[in-house]
Symmetry: C2
């Protein structure tokens, strides 16, 4: 019973995700879904990334949050379109809400949409929202064993962020073990070791993001 | 549709949780449910706590894990009964599995059962597993805004752990803001500021746990 219904929920989600994907390809809007634990640094990464790319691309943001508008408020300073989705307790974003949120942006004036998912390593990885890329956002202080313990996200993502590398000396983080897990779960995904707080390693992430977006746009415009 | 079924799932969970609670009271087994983000330090806290209390209480552990037996293996050195529940992708433990797991322990030889839930700040808080106390395990490196952003757990728990306080100087953690959130969400819950890695602040936690368990036992034996 439960399983059957869950399947229906997942199917309805998949259908709406396909519509979202179609819409984004049609309008040439590149959408990225940031997924990670609470406190892994998704909002800070978003702040840095917006600051760096906002003169090159027209950026919009969909903020997923269980209960508050804290993260959305943190981004208001950039004067870009933001839609906040309060999930009211739910642990992930679904494509039906994303489809509605996208309708709030002027499509012809939007190059990239960043979605910040609810802080959670498990459920958001199960729900396709029509994005081009899931990005796994992890941090040194969570420990090196997280990819192995929560494999789905690290398996599905197109890139992995390892944040807070400035704190590595104060932890027992085993960097070779972490690298090895990522290599096993997702050999093709680039791994960006960064510190948002100390502004370390971000250039390669910006570069990869721009290049990936530009190539994606070429492919959908063909 | 979805909502109706979710309600059924929650109701079935609640019924089994009541059975579990009844069983624990009957047998005088104190059960604690550790909930927190991936990497907040649940397993390390458990290691420390077992080490400290194992000569006073007969301890057993139920380990919830999405996919691996890593955490269960970390606890094997203590030579205590451990049941591993692999949720197979699911983001929380439910009371039906807990009821089954408890059956694996010899009741007359068990004083305290620690449950380590799946690493997740959202879903585990919604599922009563028949425990006496939910403990919120958070850490400085996740940021001070987490109680406000994920209020359910911090509202429902009987105590809050703030781990990794040895790292506070390397972060932007706003301690008064964190305290204020906890005070608002859960004025009665004690807050233990600890570092498992540096062995700081744990004595008060051990003391509270023992005292709470002993008082609980008196109340059910009346």
């Amino acid at each position: 019973m439960e399983i059957k219904i869950l399947r229906e929920v997942l199917e309805a989600n998949r259908d709406a995700a396909e519509e979202v994907r179609e819409y984004l390809r049609d309008k040439g809007i590149f959408m990225v879904n940031l997924i990670g634990s609470p406190g892994s640094g998704k909002t800070t990464l978003l702040e840095k990334t917006i600051e760096h790319l906002k003169d090159t691309y027209r950026i919009a943001v969909i903020e997923g949050d269980v209960a508050t508008d804290r993260d959305a408020r943190r981004l208001q300073k950039y004067d870009i379109p933001i839609v906040l989705i309060n999930t009211g307790g739910s642990c992930h974003l679904e494509s039906v809400s994303i489809r509605k949120a996208l309708g709030e942006f002027e499509a012809s004036a939007t190059d990239i949409v960043f979605v910040e998912n609810v802080g959670n390593l498990v459920c958001p990885a199960e729900f396709d929202i029509g994005e081009y890329a899931k990005i796994a956002v992890s941090s040194v202080t969570e420990g090196h064993d997280k990819p192995e313990k929560y494999p789905l996200l690290f398996n599905e993502c197109r890139a992995v962020i390892l944040n807070k590398v400035d704190l590595v000396q104060f932890t027992d983080f085993d960097s070779p073990a972490y690298h090895e897990s990522i290599r096993k779960l997702n050999p093709g995904a680039p791994l960006f070791e960064i510190s948002c707080r100390q502004d370390m390693g971000l250039d390669k992430w910006y570069e990869w993001l721009s290049k990936t977006r530009d190539e994606w746009l070429k492919s959908v415009r063909r």
